[in-house]
Symmetry: C2
Subunit: 457 residues, 2 copies
């Protein structure tokens, strides 16, 4: 995988002389991204491309080439890979479609690629792939522009949509490998690479079909002990599985069997396209949760009820709070206030102000031995006029002290974006778009802990 | 309800002389909001408040008072309501907590309020309420600042969180009634008011407990024919129901019974706190869906598979597209491309450009008699450099022509917010945060149509 992720020299075959918007010129994108290695553009009609000396054929380069990227119509790809082998290329990315994702002819062509790779000890990523992205060394083979962040998240996928839509799917990725049709490099090797990679702390995987599940699962279990692995399996339905076959050529297999097997191996299994971003955010920021007893702290009674409903949906329960925690709130509340969990702060707030009460109660909750995690609901007011209703700094400060309990939150009001960002900076209380998602995330942290305990035995 | 929503004169009892941030001064908020009626501040120690003549007791006003808002500690409320009755007040809002939401004493006090109301023909909203908001005449009784929009959405709720967090929950509201503990004015009258209100096209309801379900359902059915009604019921779980009892004093009842009964009456039933905003947005912009056959148009094969999975989850199916639709794409695609539904445009896009292809295919899909609705997946590129990948204007233009088929969409890429807003302006293709939500919304439109057909029989 090193030749794919950190090539010292890269040949680009089928590179156009056109550049600029609409040309999808991957050499231009690569230079723009900041690639530091040597580039050899290959084009039978050009002497130079974008100011770099071009060659009419890869065999004419005569220098060490770690990686070749082939963007040619499918009928020309087999010959091109053969030439790469002859030129001593270590790794080839086949970008184009029309192989196992297409017709019988495409399947035959893909088999020919596999044969050449095996014969020559050359490795192939693809076909039908955007290739790789590595934000730690500013390298990408994508012809589409990507956003970049040195995030400790490694993504393995079977579609470029996860590269281009990283912000939507996974909340940014640090490194990515699009295995496409996976004719040679597959999930196993990509996972092994990220498992060994010290830059990567979390691995996110999009699977259409997993052909050799057994070795993958044997590998994944031990890696998952160190680095959480989240998996989003598509082609869940019969119609979806059929669509997968004509997308990456994958055999989607039975969804429930996947679900059970992957969860048993300790992977965190996702069902919907909105969940990966929340999962990654949660696992990056929050510790595994030691039990399922949750304290809900809220400034809205209705929100507390919604939290209670959502927690139960995910197998979590309201903690029976210690007397000390309850009496801390009782001392501040009107005498008629029914007290318990959820801890409804509002009647006390009207009298004593929000900030002092929220910090006092969160502190009690974190110290309460009956509590494994907390779900906090607060308001996101307009600043600066209503800053006395913004508790982000005060709560962040409490969380600075080492606590092993996850704390998640939900905000409502006119200014959710700005106040969420203030919480984000503290990096200890993770804010979600809905109460439902906050509860779901606590359940994910519980599942993670249960796996780690199982493995400890 | 008119005295609550459009009072010509309003007394404010228990008004503080403090104003500005942190005072929660509802008179200040009311003036700031733009109330045009007459205000009578009632405060035993003040001659004037915020420049308006104050009275020591409501009985001293001696003028017609439509509405009185009482913000007093609970022990003072009963006497105050009695004085309102003597002063000829038509409607009273009791803001404070500590009634049926609290202890036995609170329950007794609430019963006394009901008795005074019945005796004097005076109506009470609350206790435990932010009151009302009416953005069509700039009136609110909330002591918390609200965002405002003349949106044709009427909200009935049992918590101020829906007023203050309207943007989070329902995507803005035009009018709102917080019935709180609902000691007198309840769901029935609030629903009737919005049912008759020409400003309101959609009614969103948050229920903790619905005490008199039968008359409510008899009323709701006929209204739902004209105006979609969405209901979010909280206190779903046993623990949640218990929490509801100490929030609004409501008996939450059995969730599945609610669910069945409300759905049967033609209400659209929501399960999670993130769904109300999507439901309102969908029903405001999209027509009911005549059948369950969906065309998926996508620029990412993987996205098409996710859409297929999600549609099946919600009981929708992939349309068997007409030959004409298929061949329109076939003419533009490479010969090896497997064609069907989802319509994967990408291989054609690389050759012919995205805009022409997307408009051509959407046009075919809208004309295809085998299709009842469409789910469109496209890219949200950086502008202006990559504007050739932005299809918002082109698709909006097609949709200008009257079509009776709902079209929903999902975008990925680095610029989702800006491109979504461009779609929003066209107001015909509704964009969702996830493919899952787009599919869910189509199912909601299907459910709506099925109810309308049932009623037509």
């Amino acid at each position: 995988m090193r030749y794919f992720m950190e090539p010292e020299s890269t040949a680009i075959i089928g590179i156009s002389r056109r550049s600029g918007p609409g040309s999808y010129n991957l050499m231009e994108n690569m230079l723009h991204y900041g690639y530091q290695g040597r580039i050899f553009p290959i084009n039978p009609q050009a002497n130079e491309i974008l100011g770099v000396k071009a060659y009419t054929n890869i065999r004419k380069v005569g220098l060490k080439i770690d990686l070749a990227i082939i963007s040619l119509p499918r009928e020309l790809v087999v010959k091109s890979v053969q030439e790469c082998a002859e030129a001593g290329v270590k790794a080839v990315i086949v970008v184009g479609q029309g192989f196992a994702d297409a017709d019988v002819r495409g399947k035959i062509l893909q088999h020919e690629l596999i044969a050449i790779a095996k014969e020559n000890g050359l490795r192939i990523l693809g076909p039908n792939t955007l290739g790789v992205v590595n934000n730690f060394n500013n390298f990408t083979t994508s012809f589409m522009p990507l956003t970049r962040e040195k995030s400790p998240v490694g993504l393995i996928c079977q579609s470029g949509v996860f590269f281009v839509g990283a912000a939507v799917f996974s909340g940014q990725i640090g490194k990515g490998i699009d295995i496409g049709n996976a004719c040679d490099i597959g999930f196993y090797e990509a996972l092994k690479y990220f498992g060994d990679d010290p830059d990567i702390k979390i691995i996110a995987i999009h699977v259409e079909g997993l052909e050799h599940a057994r070795p993958f699962l044997s590998l994944a279990g031990p890696i998952a002990r160190e680095k959480p692995i989240v998996v989003f399996k598509t082609g869940q339905s019969e119609a979806g599985a059929k669509a997968a076959a004509s997308h990456s050529g994958a055999m989607a297999g039975d969804y429930q069997i996947y679900r059970t097997a992957l969860k048993q191996a300790g992977l965190l299994f996702l069902d919907e396209d909105g969940q990966m971003g929340d999962a990654v955010k949660t696992l990056l920021r929050q510790p595994p949760m030691k039990g399922n007893r949750i304290a809900v702290i809220t400034v809205t009674g209705a929100g507390g009820i919604m939290a209670t409903d959502a927690l139960e949906r995910y197998g979590l329960e309201l903690a029976s709070l210690s007397e000390k925690t309850i009496s801390a709130l009782a001392d501040l509340s009107p005498e008629w206030m029914p007290l318990g969990n959820p801890l409804d702060l509002w009647p006390a707030v009207m009298k004593h102000g929000l900030r002092d009460i929220y910090t006092a109660i969160l502190r009690e909750v974190l110290a309460d031995h009956n509590v494994d995690g907390a779900l906090c609901i607060s308001i996101a007011p307009k600043l600066p006029d209503f800053d006395f209703l913004d508790v982000s700094e005060q709560l962040n400060k409490i969380m600075d002290k080492k606590t092993e309990k996850p704390v998640v939150g939900w905000l409502y009001g006119p200014n959710v974006k700005e106040i969420s960002e203030k919480f984000d900076k503290g990096n200890r209380i993770t804010i979600y778009q809905t109460i439902e998602k906050a509860a779901w995330s606590l359940a994910l942290l519980r599942e993670r802990q249960q796996f780690l305990e199982k493995e400890d035995k």
